[in-house]
């Protein structure tokens, strides 16, 4: 390892740690760190690493011919992700600073690869911790063994993937034509098919279906299949790599580790000896990553950034008229414009027509139940989606806050235009989902007989509540954003216990506020219910109670919008 690169790595690591510690001087980060630390300790660490030390180690999957199946899964993952669907060209993930400084510096490609392998170890370790936390809850025994096993597996996979991409890039650089690649692929597929035929012929016949219900017999059958024909040879290196993960204790782990380490060293040698041009693809990757981080900081939550295309507005915006409508127009454009609205309209109309047609003409419990599940799932998904999107949409406006604050428009109009559009779009989808659910419920005769009218009344109440509920609930995260914008920062600095703890505190606070906001509407709905009981109004109390709660919620939303507007006008970008 080049000493300068080692210096860069160790100093950057120390600097990052120091920065984290320094920011703990600010109370919000200190509370966040304490809360996050306690949360992780309580939820994961104590359970994984301290709780069941004495229990014999049984990792997840150990019961189902574990080692063989895991080797098969690893083989399939390597085949698919490293060889069949690799990236376009070899790209190592460098930061823009690393590219600007290290690429023109007197460093060989091999030194840069070694440096990247070293720096990637932090990511490999973090991923191994994550996998341990995810899979460890279903396992027993030492968590450290889980962690070490995952580290071996992930290191192997990432090294193999890198080596394969180097090999493929080299083939491309040497001018391997497309037809040659295809020929090689066809030959590979033919060889695999041949191996499968040989395997099928030598594999034992599958047992009868009922016996497969017993885990032991299924496990024995899978094991025997994976030990037949060419499978043992094909899976041998992958068995070597998964064996440490399945070790029952540390001595067994140590015995399994040596051959796995040998394979890792071979892979390392394969990767560092590759003299392949990775620079252009790495520059492009760094640019994409930098754009993605910048987009995240603005509140754009897309997983992959693609250039946005111009959209046709949902309606023409003419100069005279209510100013807030400009923000409705803008928010609709952001949501996809006329094209997206039309597409979704067609999708829902088609779903409703199809559901209604099939339910009326050929009723079937299965289909009706599917409609109910789909409809109610969409309803609930939009309910929660809308709450979180409120802050996200507003965050995009914070980027242009200095411009917005110069506009001759009141803050509440900006907030109303922005949030109302999202709430209304959500409500439209919720109404369609509700209709789909009702159609599905109508196809269940037993349910209709038991209380068809009540279902209709409850659905009407929900439909009345959807829009004001969306709006009122969106205001809370949006308000949190305007009050404490620094807590919403994205990018590389938004990592660690302290920020995770901050987010949990923030989430709990918002849930409490939302609960508080629902008290008065719930009281209003309760009053209607009591009145209905008194006057024997039957099931019609439900839409009436819904309307009462909706009115109160709308009032709260209006007050919230006025308050947010005032915050918007007073917002000081330089303060955060």
């Amino acid at each position: 390892m080049n000493p300068a690169l080692l210096y860069l790595y160790t100093r950057s690591l120390a600097g990052s740690l120091r920065q984290r510690l320094v920011r703990l001087k600010r109370p919000k980060y200190l509370f966040g760190a304490l809360f996050g630390g306690l949360y992780f300790y309580g939820y994961f660490y104590r359970f994984l690493f301290l709780g069941q030390k004495s229990a014999p180690r049984v990792p997840i999957g150990a019961t189902l011919a574990g080692e063989s199946v895991a080797a098969l899964v690893l083989f399939a993952a390597v085949l698919v992700f490293a060889w069949i669907m690799p990236g376009k060209r070899t790209a190592l993930l460098f930061s823009e600073a690393e590219i600007a400084v290290l690429f023109p510096a007197p460093l060989s490609r091999r030194e840069l690869i070694r440096y990247k392998l070293l720096t990637s170890q932090l990511g490999v370790f973090a991923f191994a911790v994550l996998m341990t936390l995810i899979t460890g809850r279903g396992a027993t025994g030492s968590g450290w063994l889980h962690l070490a096993g995952w580290w071996v597996l992930i290191s192997f996979f990432s090294l193999h993937r890198l080596g394969a991409s180097f090999a493929l890039t080299r083939l491309m650089e040497r001018g391997m034509a497309n037809w040659q690649r295809r020929l090689a692929l066809i030959a590979g597929v033919a060889a695999l098919a041949g191996a499968l035929v040989a395997w099928r012929q030598s594999a034992p016949a599958p047992p009868a279906l009922p016996t497969l219900r017993h885990a032991d017999e299924l496990s024995a059958y899978v094991e025997s299949v994976l030990l037949a024909g060419p499978a043992p040879w094909l899976l041998l290196p992958f068995r070597v790599m998964v064996r440490p993960y399945f070790a029952a204790d540390w001595p067994a782990f140590a015995r399994a580790l040596w051959p796995a380490l040998g394979l890792l060293v071979l892979h390392y040698w394969w990767v560092v000896r590759a003299d392949v041009s990775f620079e252009e693809a790495s520059i492009s990757l760094a640019q994409k990553r930098s754009d993605l981080v910048a987009a995240r900081q603005k509140g754009d939550l897309r997983v992959k950034l693609a250039p946005r295309r111009a959209k046709v507005p949902a309606f023409p915006l003419r100069p005279p008229g209510w100013k807030a409508m400009a923000f409705v127009w803008k928010a609709l454009l952001y949501s996809g414009g006329r094209g997206t609205l039309r597409t979704w309209g067609i999708v829902f109309a088609a779903a409703l027509a199809l559901g209604a047609g099939v339910t009326l003409l050929r009723p079937s419990d299965g289909l009706s139940l599917t409609l109910v599940i789909v409809g109610s799932s969409v309803f609930i998904f939009v309910l929660f989606g809308n709450i979180t999107s409120g802050a996200s949409y507003l965050r995009q406006d914070l980027v242009a806050m200095d411009l917005l604050q110069t506009l001759p428009i009141r803050g509440w109009q900006v907030v109303l235009g922005q949030l109302f559009t999202q709430a209304a779009l959500g409500a439209l989808v919720q109404w369609a989902a509700l209709l789909l659910t009702v159609i599905g419920l109508a196809g269940l005769p037993a349910l209709v007989e038991a209380g068809g009218s009540e279902i209709l009344a409850a659905s009407a109440a929900l439909a009345l509540l959807a829009l004001p509920f969306n709006l009122a609930m969106m205001i809370i995260p949006a308000g949190t954003l305007l009050l404490w914008p620094g807590w919403f920062k994205g990018g590389p600095q938004a990592a660690g216990f302290e920020t995770a703890g901050l987010r949990i505190i923030l989430m709990l606070g918002q849930v409490l506020a939302m609960g508080g906001a629902l008290i008065v509407p719930a009281l209003a709905a309760g009053a209607v219910w009591f009145a209905a009981l008194f006057f024997h109004a039957g099931f019609w109390w439900m839409p009436l109670a819904g309307a009462a709660a909706a009115l109160v919620l709308a009032g709260e939303a209006w007050l919230g919008i006025l308050a947010l507007g005032a915050l918007f006008e007073r917002f000081d970008v330089s303060a955060e």
Binding site: P3, L13, G15, A97, E98, P104, P106, L107, P492
Partner: protein, 242 residues
């Protein structure tokens, strides 16, 4: 000091730089100009070894970049348009790192001198996040100068700087050239180039339109009294954006 022969860069079927040849001698400052998309960035990146050229040869201080990349890179410094610094290294650590990278024995002392020269001595223990853009630019300059490069490449060196910093950067570039460095500056600021450059190369669609001293270029354009801006518009006007 810089010798470029037949430099070509292809991105798939797209030809970003086509058969470009020129030389920059010690003490010369060459301005690289062209409209957006003319191939300036690709040319610079090939010249400093950030990306490999598709064809042609680049010699830096006598070392062929493709054959002796480390020896060639030891002699050069590249200053990108944005000062790209490592987030968690202090100013001093940036200099120490650079000195180690280029194996400069008296790197620490030289770093201190440079920081003093750039009026950054009191900022040595700050992280990039605590610096203004101009200060970051100074750190990038100090890192670039610490190994006393004989060849320097600047990509839009004055972007985002205040008038004082612009003046200081221009002086530093001229000073280094006078001390014997060969300098290439890529910029859209034609008045800057006219002020500091001894030579200019105009690129258009990846191809060299003209290369020479300002007087030679004026003669080429047939207007002895024209400014570089007027010549640029005359030669590549159709490609230049609004």
């Amino acid at each position: 000091m810089i010798q470029v022969e037949g430099l070509t860069k292809l991105y798939g079927d797209f030809r970003a730089v086509a058969d470009l040849s020129f030389a920059v001698r010690a003490g010369e400052i060459m301005g690289l100009v062209g409209p957006n998309g003319a191939g300036k960035t690709s040319t610079l990146r090939c010249l400093v070894g950030i990306i490999p050229a598709t064809g042609g040869t680049v010699r830096i201080a006598g070392h062929e970049l493709a054959r002796e990349p480390l020896a060639a890179k030891q002699e050069l410094a590249f200053f990108s348009d944005e000062p790209r610094l490592f987030e968690y290294l202090t100013v001093r650590q940036h200099l120490e790192f650079t000195a180690r990278l280029y194996q400069i024995a008296d790197g620490a002392a030289r770093g201190r001198e440079l920081l003093a020269e750039l009026e950054m001595a009191d900022k040595a223990d700050l992280l990039p996040g605590e610096l203004s853009r101009g200060m970051k630019q100074k750190v990038a300059l100090a890192c670039g100068f610490v190994h006393a490069p004989r060849v320097m490449f600047f990509d839009e060196p004055l972007t985002g700087l205040d008038p004082l910093a612009i003046r200081r950067t221009k002086d530093l570039i001229v000073q280094r050239a006078r001390a014997g460095a060969a300098v290439v500056i890529s910029s859209h600021l034609l008045h800057l180039l006219e002020e500091v450059c001894s030579h200019v190369l105009i690129l258009r669609r990846g191809e060299k339109v003209v290369h020479g001293t300002l007087d030679e270029i004026r003669a080429f354009a047939g207007d002895a009294g024209a400014s570089l801006e007027e010549i640029f518009i005359q030669l590549v006007g159709a490609d230049a954006g609004p």
